[in-house]
Symmetry: C2
Subunit: 693 residues, 2 copies
Amino acid sequence: MLSGGDVAAKREEIRAYFHATLDRYEQLFEMLHGDEAYFRKPISLRHPLIFYLGHTATFFANKLLLAGLITERINPRLESMFAVGVDEMSWDDLNTAHYDWPSVDEVRIYRNTIRSTVDRLISEVPLTLPIGWDNPWWTILMGIEHERIHLETSSVLIRQHALEYVKPHPAWEPCRKSGPAPQNQLIHVPAGVVSLGKSKADPVYGWDNEYGRHIAEVAAFQAGKYLVSNQEFLAFVEANGYGMESCWEEEGRAWQRHTCAGYPTFWIRHGSEWRLRLMTEEIPMPWDWPVEVNYHEAKAFCNWKAAATGQPFRLPTEDEWYRLYDVAGLSEIPHTEPAAANIHLDYSASSHPVNEFPQGEFYDVAGNVWQWTETPIYPFEGFDIHPHYDDFTTPTFDGRHNLMKGGSWISCGNESLKSARYAFRRHFFQHTGFRYVVADAPAVQQDSHYETDKLLSEYAEFHYGDEYFGVPNFPKALAELAIAAMGDKPAHKALDLGCASGRATFELARHFDDVTGIDFSARFIGQGVQLAGQGVLRYTLTDEGDLVFYKERTLTGLGLDAVKHKVRFYQGDACNLKTLFSGFDLILAANLIDRLYDPAKLLSTIHTRLNLGGLLMIASPYTWLEEHTKKEAWIGGFKRDGESFSTLDGLKEILGNHFKLIQGPQEVPFVIRETRRKFQHTLSEMTMWERIA
Amino acid sequence: MLSGGDVAAKREEIRAYFHATLDRYEQLFEMLHGDEAYFRKPISLRHPLIFYLGHTATFFANKLLLAGLITERINPRLESMFAVGVDEMSWDDLNTAHYDWPSVDEVRIYRNTIRSTVDRLISEVPLTLPIGWDNPWWTILMGIEHERIHLETSSVLIRQHALEYVKPHPAWEPCRKSGPAPQNQLIHVPAGVVSLGKSKADPVYGWDNEYGRHIAEVAAFQAGKYLVSNQEFLAFVEANGYGMESCWEEEGRAWQRHTCAGYPTFWIRHGSEWRLRLMTEEIPMPWDWPVEVNYHEAKAFCNWKAAATGQPFRLPTEDEWYRLYDVAGLSEIPHTEPAAANIHLDYSASSHPVNEFPQGEFYDVAGNVWQWTETPIYPFEGFDIHPHYDDFTTPTFDGRHNLMKGGSWISCGNESLKSARYAFRRHFFQHTGFRYVVADAPAVQQDSHYETDKLLSEYAEFHYGDEYFGVPNFPKALAELAIAAMGDKPAHKALDLGCASGRATFELARHFDDVTGIDFSARFIGQGVQLAGQGVLRYTLTDEGDLVFYKERTLTGLGLDAVKHKVRFYQGDACNLKTLFSGFDLILAANLIDRLYDPAKLLSTIHTRLNLGGLLMIASPYTWLEEHTKKEAWIGGFKRDGESFSTLDGLKEILGNHFKLIQGPQEVPFVIRETRRKFQHTLSEMTMWERIA
C-alpha cells in the first residue's frame, strides 16, 4: 500500500481502499434498529454509537489539519463533540447533560462532506512514492486504518447493545456451524528466537508501536492446540471459578467483585440453558466456538487449571505468540483472497469452531478471536511517535494495557497483520479469547515505563538527552576531565558518588575496570540500573503546559553498551558510606557537596577510600540551601572571622591535610531542561585533588 | 597621606603614623585598673576590653591576608577570638562560657608581633604613589584608621566601665574649665547648595561610604548657635521629658521604656546634685559642656521644644550640617597643628564648654562632641565597596543607623575630617550630642535601601544589571524589536503591561512620547519608580551561600536619564485594567500571559485599548503553572479535541478577530541570575500583532 511505481494507480488503490473502509463502517451501523439505537449507550461508561459514527470522520479532519492538507475545520461544532471520548470515561465526563448530540442525518451529511474532502485530496495532493511517515499521504492512510479499528470496536458495542436496538443484516450473517468442542491438548513448542518490530521501510502501514526492534530467545513451552472453547471454559464456570478468590489476580479480583460476574459477558443463562450473544441475536451456546473473555477471566482460568493440575498454566507472552506463529509456519495473510483463517470478514460475522482453521499443528494462531497475552504493551527499542498521532500508543505504556494478538473474524487492514499490536485495559471486552500455555519460564515482562516524574525526567534528559545552548553533556564532560587527569595512573576502581542517573558512572567505565555509582536516591539510580539491565531509558519531556513528548535513549545509541558490565549502582548515603566502598583510584563527587547534610563528614574522611596518588574530583555550583544543609554544616559561603569564607576556602581547609589541588578551579557548565523554553543554566566549579597523605 | 613623590619619605611618614596610632591606642588601656578591668564587661551586650585590645591587631592580620601581604595567620587561635564582635550582640552570643580570653600579657605579645610584622611590611612592600584603592598599602592605612576608630569607641567603653576598674592617667587629663551655660539662640542659615562625597583621586584615606557624589539644595533654616548644653538639656529632664510619651518617636519610646532612662547616661544624680561621668572620674556637672545623648534623647528634646514653642525644632540633616560647615567658613582641620576646635586630642580628654570654640557665627560645628543628624546613612551615587572590607558600611544601609557629624575631642585621623561619615544605631552612646535647627522643610531622607529580597534583587539585575552567557538585556531587546516594528507609525502612547521592574518602560520612552508601566506588584514597580525619582537602584546579589555583593545602577549610567519624564508607573491588574488605560499605539506584554489568572480576559479585550493599526507585542515562555493560572484558564498547552493545542494556537484563536500576526513567532532569550553560578535561561516566544479591526 505504501510503495509502488505508478502514482496514478496508487491514487486509485488508496481511493478504493478508503471508500471500501467507509462503506463497511457505515454498513455496520445498518444493524442498528431505529434512531434511539444511536443515542442510547450500550454500556454505561462509553459514548453512544452516534459518537462513533461521527468520530472516525472527525479523526480525518483533525489529522488532515495537522498534516496541512486542509487549513480549516470542516464543522467545528461537530468536530469538538466527536474528537475525544473513545476510551472509558468517568461518570462525570459522560453526563448526558454535557452532550447535545446531532441527528443521525446531520452526522451522515458530515461524514459525506469528509468523504468527498478526502476523495478530492486523494485526487489532488501531490504524491511521491513510497509513502513514508513524513509524507502527508501517511495521514490519509492513518485515517483509513483508524476507521478499520473502529469497525471492530464498534462491532463490540453493537454486540453489547440491547437486542431491541439491533436487527439482523444480510451482510453481517454469523456462522451457523457448531458442534461439540474437541478435547484440547498441549503441544510442545521448542525453544527459539523471535524477531519483532518492523522497519520504517516496511511497505505496509503500521502504527507507531509496531516499529523498532525486539529480539528474544524464547524457552521451550507447551501450548494448547486450540483456543479455549466455550465448552472448556464451562468447567471453570461450573467449578465456581468466578467465586474462587485464589484463582484471581488482585486486579482481576477487584473487577470480578465490582461487576459480580459469574460467567463470560456474552454468555446468557436461561434456566439451565446457556446461550451466546452475537451482534444481532442470541443463539444456543456454540460449545466449540472460542470463549470470549477479558484478560482477568482468562488469567483466572489458567490459575485454576494450574492449581488443579500442578502444571504452570498461564497465558502466552507476546514473544511466545510469535514463536507459535513461526512454528505454525504462518506468514502474513494477504487480504486479496480468502484467508486460511477466520479473519477480515472472509467467512462470517462471528466466531467459528476452534477446530476449523488448522495452522501447522495448531488451530487459530491467527484469526477467529483475538488472544490475550501476559504482556503489557511496551515500546520496542527505537520506538518513535508519529507526530500526527502522538497519543495513539504512549498513554498505554502504563503497565495496565495488555497486548492481544492474532486478530478476530472482523479484523481488517492493519489489524489483521502479524505485526499489529493492540493493547487494551485488562478488563475490556473485545472479540477476544485465549490460548493457554504451560511454561516453566515466568512470563518475561518488558519494561513499558515512561518516566513522567518531573525531576526524574529532567535528570534523564540532563544525563542522557540532548544538549542545549551548545553546552556539552555535563557528566560526560566531567568523566572526560577525570580520565584526562588520570594520565597513566592505575585505573582499576572508580567511584561516582552522588551519581544521580548514572551517566558519569558509565562514561568512567570507558577508562576504569570497575565503576561504582552511589546515590542517596533509589529513584535516580533506577535509571542507571535500567540502562545497564535493559539498555533503554524512556521518559517524557514537557513541551508547554500539559503537552509532553516522549523520548528514548539506549545504551547502544550512547556508545556505552560495551562497558555496561563494568558499572554497578548502589543506594547509599555519602555522609555515611559503608567501609567496603574503598580502594578507589578516582572518586568523582559531582553536584554533591551542597546537597549533603554533613559535607565536612564526607570530605574529612574521603581520603580513606582513595588510594594514595588517587584523584578526588569535586564539582559543585556551591548552591547552599538550608533545606539540604543546615547553615552550621555549610563548609563555605559565609563570613568567618569577619571575612568572606568561600566554599573553595572550606575545601582547601578540610582537604588540605591529605590532598594537593592539582587542577582547577574551573567552571564546567550544565543545563537542565524544564520545558521547551525554560532551562536551568549553571556553572559547576571543578577542582581536582590528588591524595598525597 | 596617599600621594607624594618620595617613596622613602612616604614609608617613614606611614611608619610614624602607624606607631603613633598603636601607641595612643595602647595608652588608652593604661587607664584600666588591674587585670580584671580587661575581663569585666563595661556594658552587658558588648565584649570586655580585652577583646578590643586584641581586635585592632587581628584586623591588621585579616586585611593583610586579604591583600596578600602576608600568607599565613599570625595566631589562628587569637585571631579567631578577636575577629568579630564589635557590635552589640544578643545575650547568647556573649555567653561568657563561649570565651576563654587570653591573658593581657599574651595579647600584648600578640600586638607586638603584629606591630613588628606591619613595621617590616612598611619597609619591604613595594610602594608606588599615589596609593589607590587597589594598592596593598591602602590596606595598611585601613588598619591604621580602623585602630583610630577604636581609639574613640574604646574610650566610650572605658567611660562606661565601673570606676573601680579605671584610674586617672596624665596623658588623659580632662578639661577643668566649666561655668554657667550661655543662653542658646537661633541663627539664620540662608539657602544654598551643598556638595558631598569625595573622589577616588582624593589624597586622603577614606572609608567606602565617603566616596561618590551627592549634591543638594538646602532650604533656609535656623540653627542653634551652640550645641545643646547640659544646662539647656536639664530643662527637658526637669520637665519630666523622659516620661512624656508624646515627645518620643516610637523607636525611642521603646528604648526609653526598656532602659527606664530618666536623664542622660553619663549623668549621675546624687540627691539633688548632678554630676558627670568622664573616663576615669565623676565631676560636678559642667553645665556649659555639651550634653551627651543618643539620637532618641536628642530627638525627644527637639520634639518637646517644638511642642512648647510651636516652632519646627528638629535635628539637622547631614546636608544641613554641610551647609552649617560652609556658612561657618570652615575648611578641613589639619592634624599637624592644634585645631581651632576641640578635636583630635589637641586640648583635653573630655568636652569643653560649648562657648569656647567659635566657628563663624556658630560654635563647635566641628569638634567637642559628635552631633546627631536626622539622616540615616545612605550610599552616595557611585558608592562602591572596598573589596577588603566589604561589610564596613553596607550592613548600616538599613535605615536604622543615623549619621553623626563633626567629630569629638578624641576623633583623630579620618574621624576628624569633614568628609567622615560614621553612623550608629540610634540608641548607641558615643561622645555625641546635638545642635537643633528650626526648619520648615521636613528632613529629607535619602534612600539607603539595598534591595535584598531575593526575587526583587534578581529582577533588578535582570532588568538593569549585567548580561550573562552573552544574552542581551531582555526588556531592552524587546523594546528595540517593538520600536523597529513601529516603523513610522504614530508613537505617542505605549503601554508596558506587566512591566515588573520597568526597564522596557524606560526603553520604550526612547521612541514614544508617553509610556505607562503597569504591574500587579507594587514591589516591582517600586524599582522603576525609584529609578525615575531618585535615579538610582541598589541591590545585593548572592555570590554563594550567605555571601553577597552590592550593586548600584543609575538611570544616567543606563543612558535613560533624558527619558525619565516620559514614563509613569501604576499598580494594576492586567485582567481588570481601568478604562483610562487606552488609546495606545503599542502594548507590550512581556512574560505576562502565563502569570495571569485569566489571560483570555485580557487578550479578548485588549484591542479596545489599542489604536487601530497599533501593535500588540506578546512575549512569553508559556510556562503555565497552576499556581498562577488554573488549568481551565490556560489558553494553550493542552490537548483539545484530541490534538495538541499550543499557546500560539490559543493566541491566534483569541486575537484572530482583531489582529493580524505580522512578525514572529521568534524566540527572545533571557537570563535571570540567582547566584554567581546558577541561572535561569529561558526562551520567550515573541509574536507581534497589528490591530486590524
